[in-house]
């Protein structure tokens, strides 16, 4: 039997009650809050405490601030290196520092991160050598760091494909008796890809300890969120898979860390995956090659500048007396040193070996690759002879 909206409005409250009042709502605990969780006001003042999302220890927040400052400086430096021709391209995450740093701070060192190309800042915040992080964009190889040693998958360029890898890895870890959690960074656009849905579904069915962390920065290159989804928010995509979900103000570092901490604890406790959507904004174009003025106006960008996560956290930490002018200056100095070292190291031309092209295609090269390697070796030898 179908009910028209008019009929539904006419129905008495008594009649609309479920037939069995004690039957639990199967979606209870899965749906996100209707408004993004926020613990700090945009001006940096603390909102009333919440039992479900306790404020992280202030020392953790201070460390978060430090990594955000260094991260932003890294990001600026990488953009500069691109303008100087040292990087082929750089997708900035300026404005998303709370998410970039919060994601890795919520994890243990032996947890796994599944990043996209926009997570360079997150990876440096995880302690990975920035030159190794930028290898992909400098172009001397694809992945510059050791993913197994750093428990960090290669930065994923195909959208959302890493959502399923994380489900498999997290399930494999728990299958082998380890309590590792996997955290997946993805963007708003990637939630439209099939692999996002397959990944979340696999993780849910196999109760894999994965945190799916969507940084909704409003645009997939130029395409606005309204073209990605008609859902109330991206965090509502979890309920269909039986996955508890939450949305958070992604420019509120305190809330981001609090929500992710709870999500990671949920996964580690064996309760399966958790989906978090952070509402944030990409202050820079998609990459240096993009012209953002073609799809968004200055007023919008300026409005988000007022919600800067760094200024917000700094104001709060100063109010808590764990940050003063001297500490701010010292952290800024650390960031400058970090950037200067990076600049210095990126100014040398990396050596590439054409013969290495044949390494790591297979564990052992096929006869055909051995043949082609020999051909390239001969070409190189002939070229060297000509130069001499």
């Amino acid at each position: 039997m179908t009910t028209t909206p008019q009929a539904a409005r006419r129905a008495s409250p008594r009649k609309r009650r479920p037939a069995t009042p004690t039957a639990p709502d199967p979606a209870a605990g899965l749906l996100p809050e209707t408004e993004p969780v926020r613990l700090l006001d945009p001006d940096g003042t603390l909102l009333p405490a919440r039992a479900d999302y306790p404020e992280p220890p202030v020392e953790a927040l201070r460390e978060m601030y430090r990594r955000m400052v260094v991260g932003r400086r890294f990001d600026t430096q990488a953009t500069a290196l691109t303008k100087q021709g040292r990087l082929a391209v750089y997708p900035s995450s300026r404005g998303q520092e709370a998410c970039q740093v919060g994601g890795v701070l919520a994890l243990r060192d032996d947890d796994w991160v599944f990043p996209t190309y926009r997570e360079s800042m997150a990876l440096t915040a995880r302690g990975i050598d920035p030159v190794e992080v930028l290898t992909l964009l400098r172009g001397d190889w694809h992945c510059g760091y050791d993913p197994a040693a750093r428990r960090t998958a290669p930065q994923c360029t195909p959208l959302a494909t890493q959502c399923v890898h994380a489900a498999g890895l997290a399930y494999g870890e728990s299958y082998q008796g380890r309590d590792t959690v996997a955290l997946v960074y993805i963007g708003d656009g990637a939630t439209s890809e099939g692999d996002f849905h397959e990944g979340v579904n696999f993780a849910a069915v196999f109760k894999a300890p994965v945190v799916y962390f969507v940084q909704n920065n409003r645009y997939a290159i130029s395409v606005p969120l309204s073209r990605q989804t008609a859902a109330p928010s991206l965090a509502y995509k979890g309920v269909g898979y039986g996955v508890p979900s939450e949305q958070v103000d992604g420019n509120d570092p305190v809330a981001v860390l609090a929500v992710l901490t709870r999500a990671v604890a949920h996964a580690r406790a064996g309760k399966g995956p958790f989906l978090v959507e952070a509402h944030t904004y990409r202050m820079e174009p998609h990459t240096n090659a993009d012209d953002a003025s073609r799809y968004r106006d200055t007023d919008e960008v300026e409005a988000w500048r007022d919600r800067d996560p760094l200024a917000r956290l700094e104001t709060y930490l100063r109010g808590r007396d764990v940050l003063d002018d001297a500490a701010v200056a010292e952290i800024a100095e650390q960031a400058e040193t970090y950037a200067a070292e990076l600049r210095e190291r990126m100014n040398t031309q990396p050596t590439v070996d054409p013969l290495s092209l044949f390494d790591h295609v297979y564990a052992e090269p096929t006869p055909q690759l051995v043949e082609q390697r020999e051909q390239v070796r001969a070409e190189l030898a002939a070229a060297t002879e000509e130069d001499a």
Partner: protein
């Protein structure tokens, strides 16, 4: 020795691999309690438990992507793509991740796994159930592509695929699943990268793989009536490819026909023909010819016999191998003004 079907030999290979290596996990669609639509995983769940052999959500990209993660955690996934064409949703995972992870990470990560693909036709299947998809995988560096044509090879190549340090797309010719042969398992045949001469002959070489091997062997038998003594080489592993064995055979016979069931254009047979003529030009008495499926979407069941390479088509090709040293009349008018 006992008679066994290829399906049973594959099942035994999976069971023996699971017994020998507890890291081996078998999963996919309907592979658990049902034992797979072709029963290749029959009894594995009952024997090894539902943590070792299990059903997944119905999503092929998910299955392969899940296997990537499991392999990263140190396990050995063996996944079943229920039918050839059902594997297409997984192609991005296969081409962009499975094939490339070792290379992208300079060997720091590798994802050894076996992707089993029941493939090709000749079983009266309706559309999307009979594709020959081997060229897509063979064209993707980083994958090994293997296809058995005998019961012994089915067992041995699958065992080797599961032990291999690289990802292997294991193409199982559906129409050979229930063909039986004498075998004594466990058996080990020639390793990856070795083609095998299935039938020795002096006059011409038929190169075939997977479902085309029995066709080539039958054609070679029939050719005796025409006075031709044909050699048949079974490629077995498309990647890595054995140039040496095939070139040696063609140098002996001086003539070559490549037989494949897949549509011909830009296919594996084209690659083989090119490689043979590069290596054997001065030993050849005729151009290398190809006999393949037609360049059409796989046809409806009542028309598939027209599509599939037949013994007659193979013999027709052999007849065109310029036994009289005259040019192939088929091409004489091509390109000339009408």
């Amino acid at each position: 020795m006992a008679t066994m079907t290829m399906a049973k030999a594959l099942n035994a290979a999976l069971a023996d691999a699971m017994l020998d290596d507890e890291r081996v996990l078998v999963f996919g669609e309907d592979v658990g309690q049902l034992g797979g639509v072709f029963r290749i995983t029959d009894g594995l769940q009952a024997r090894f438990g539902d943590k070792r052999c299990f059903d997944t959500p119905l999503a092929e990209a998910g299955i392969v992507g899940f296997a990537v993660g499991l392999a990263m955690s140190g396990l050995r996934p063996v996944v079943e793509m229920q039918f050839d064409a059902f594997a297409y949703p997984a192609f991005e995972q296969i081409a962009s991740h499975v094939a490339k992870l070792r290379n992208r990470t300079r060997g720091a990560l590798s994802v050894p796994m076996v992707i089993r693909v029941p493939y090709a036709g000749g079983i009266g299947g309706v559309e999307h159930h009979c594709d020959s998809s081997e060229a897509y995988y063979a064209h993707t560096p980083g994958l090994k592509v293997v296809t058995p044509a005998t019961v012994d090879d089915a067992y041995s190549l699958l065992r080797e695929a599961i032990d291999d340090p690289d990802p292997v797309v294991f193409m199982e010719p559906k129409k050979l699943y229930f063909a039986g042969a004498e075998t004594a398992l466990p058996t080990r045949t020639e390793p990856f990268g070795r083609a095998v001469v299935r039938r020795a002959g002096r006059d011409a070489t038929l190169v075939a793989y997977g479902p085309a091997v029995p066709v080539a062997l039958e054609a070679a038998e029939a050719a005796r009536d025409e006075g031709w003594d044909l050699e048949v080489v079974d490629v077995r592993t498309i990647v890595p490819f054995d140039d040496a064995t095939i070139a040696a055979s063609v140098r002996r016979t001086g003539r070559c026909v490549v037989v494949q069931e897949a549509q011909g254009f830009a296919g594996v047979g084209a690659e083989i023909a090119a490689r043979v003529q590069e290596r054997c030009f001065h030993a050849l008495h005729a151009p290398v010819l190809r006999v393949s499926g037609l360049d059409i979407p796989y046809p409806a069941p009542m028309l598939e016999h027209t599509h599939l390479p037949s013994v007659d088509r193979v013999l027709d090709a052999v007849a065109r191998l310029q036994w009289d040293d005259q040019p192939d009349r088929r091409w004489l008018t091509e390109g000339s003004a009408a």
